[in-house]
Amino acid sequence: MVTVTAAPRAQQGTLLAAHGLQTGYGAGSSAIVVARELPALELKAGRLVCLLGPNGSGKSTLLRTLAGLQPTLAGEITIAGLADRSPSALAKKISLVLTDRVRGNHLTVYTLVALGRYPYSGWLGSLHAADKAKVGWALQTADVEALKDKPIHTLSDGQYQKVMLARALAQDTPVLMLDEPTAHLDLPSRIRLMRLLHGLSRDTDKAILLSTHELDLALQIADEVWLLQSGGQLRQGTPEDLVLNGTFEAAFAEEDVVFDKEAGTFLLHLAPGKPIGLSGEGTALFWTERALRRAGFKLTADAPLQVRVRSGPGGPAWEVAGDVVATGVDSIEKLLLAIR
């Protein structure tokens, strides 16, 4: 079981702290260590932390260890205000959204969400007025009120995730942890869920930890990022700091992939070829550069071929000068055809 102790005088707002943590499986000499030298970690009230990292870096293991589902190999996890070490006390502090798919026929959304009140409900599972109020609030906050009588096997993936979130909300805990909540979701659902979580961290005082592959969305909504690298090292900080100091680049550096600080995205490192010069203004400039890179051009200041972007009343317009001359180009497609 998790080694948790009551915090003596918790730091202001710190709801969960971990020191000297080592995560892995097994025990003793045959233990498999996943992450060896983790730094001190803290989850503070009202902040959303994203746990990022390449596949196999141990994100799930770390999250499950912090949640108490797996024992630590070493180190200590302190939870503010924890009365005793019992599972039921822990249940009032941390709630989870996992990748487990709950199957169970004749289970309605309402019943499932109401199960989140497990640590508080009566001895036969009966709900009091306060419990019912919480369940109602959870359904509303997760935007699944309209689905409450539907059997869960009829839900779409996106709806299902929101229902599991509602259940975790009904559990009414200061800390909320989510393991890859956006997996299997389509883009609109992903955005909606992330927005929901971001709003939660602002409106409630919960500390939210979520592990995800959604770099783009994570960078936008996370107050803090924990970046797990393949070797098991963890770097933490504000997302922008991690980008600017090159940690992101280093973490995801692969042969053909590079994280472009300026673009804020991954770029496929294609072998550059013909030199080309680009100047101009507006949004179209950014997108023209991307198109030119994909077409295999190398952007250089003085090149025999020059492209100029101008934004006009009828939309952007391109002009090509130098080795090839073209005017009145009104789409990127025509531009690419012209300079080929």
């Binding site: 589902l69 599972p87 989870l96 199960l115 036969l124």
Partner: protein
């Protein structure tokens, strides 16, 4: 809510059906006794017709009570197993408890041919039918302890399932060896036991059976909350504060009491444990155990009473063993459930 009146109606209808099934079971048998005779035998002090009184009060009434107890116990045992293993085809014998009981009985009926062994067991104070019951309880108890001990060490429910299957195979092999070396009389007696029988549980035996089944049912009902949590899977259950190891032990104990106890007194009775939980879920459209457990009791008791009435082969002088009827009725039921795609697909 609009659902309430419908639910009340359903509940009332089922209760009525139970009473009717009870009366039906009391009325069927090789001796024809009209309803007035039944009432007279049950309620009047003076035995107007001592033969009828003996038949109703001494033979059919205990049998009907046994049917009710067995129907309740097996259904709730099956429900618990289906929830614990999240498997729609689980039944109370899945842990191998029933196989353990069979092993105990076979040890006495087949391998216990040597007079010395029988004297040894007789010295423990058991004789006659108590010998069979005692042996079955010891067999079931041994398996229960084994499963409990291993459940703590096994991380996974799938492993427990495999353990149950292995225990079943092992006991079958042992019983086959004993059968090979026994004389035809003994083999026939054991075969008759495996057909199951609701009759012959009277007086002191019925009291003990009732105590065991009620204890098992009480434990199950009181763990309704635990069972509900397990519906979400062990990870979520743990995160909500459930001690999964304790929950497993409690469920195993309750199911052992129910399945082991009923098998000890009545022999193995199949299909009730597998089919009734599905019927209950379908009729009451709920997954909440504090409603499903009473529902299973009602439906299981009614079903077994009806099966027993059928087993009397009304209109003829012979009767069929109960296990045959439950299989004939239960198998089509399970197939019908399988065909209802939504019911099984959702698991």
């Amino acid at each position: 809510m609009k659902e309430r009146p419908i639910k009340r109606l359903r509940l009332g209808g089922l209760l009525l059906l139970l009473v009717l099934a009870f009366l039906l079971d009391l009325s069927t048998g090789s001796v024809h006794i009209p309803l007035k005779g039944i009432a007279g035998a049950l309620f009047s002090r003076s035995a107007a017709n001592p033969a009828w009184h003996f038949i109703i009060a001494g033979i059919r009434l205990p049998k009907a009570c046994t049917a009710i107890l067995a129907g309740c116990g097996l259904s709730v045992g099956g429900l618990q197993m289906q929830t614990l293993f999240r498997n729609p085809l689980a039944d109370p014998s899945i842990l191998g408890i029933t196989a353990g009981a069979s092993l105990g009985v076979a040890a006495v009926m087949l391998a216990g041919g040597s007079v010395a062994a029988l004297y040894a067991i007789g010295a423990m104070g058991m004789s006659g039918s108590w010998l069979i019951i005692g042996a079955a309880c010891i067999g079931a108890g041994a398996v229960m302890l084994l499963v409990l001990a291993l459940a703590r060490r096994l991380q996974d429910n799938v492993m427990m399932l495999i353990l149950g299957i292995m225990i079943g195979s092992l006991t079958l092999a042992l019983i086959s060896i004993w059968q090979y070396f026994s004389n035809p009389e003994e083999v026939k007696d054991f075969l008759l036991w495996t057909f199951g029988s609701l009759g012959g549980v009277t007086g002191g035996q019925l009291t003990i059976l009732a105590a065991v089944v009620l204890a098992g049912l009480a434990i199950a009902f009181l763990s309704s909350k635990m069972l509900d949590a397990l519906l979400l899977g062990e990870n979520y259950a743990r995160s909500m504060g459930l001690s999964v190891g304790t929950a497993r032990s409690v469920i195993i104990c309750s199911t052992s009491l129910l399945a082991g106890g009923i098998t000890a007194f009545c022999g193995p009775i199949g299909f009730v444990g597998i089919a009734v939980p599905h019927i209950a879920r379908f009729l009451f459209n709920t997954a909440s155990h504090r409603r499903l457990i009473p529902a299973c009791c009602l439906i299981g008791a009614t079903l077994l009473l009806l099966c027993d009435a059928l087993a009397q082969l009304p209109g003829t002088q012979s009767a069929l063993p109960i296990n045959i009827i439950t299989s004939l009725v239960g198998a089509p039921l399970v197939v019908a459930l399988l065909l209802r795609q939504t019911t099984i697909h959702a698991w």
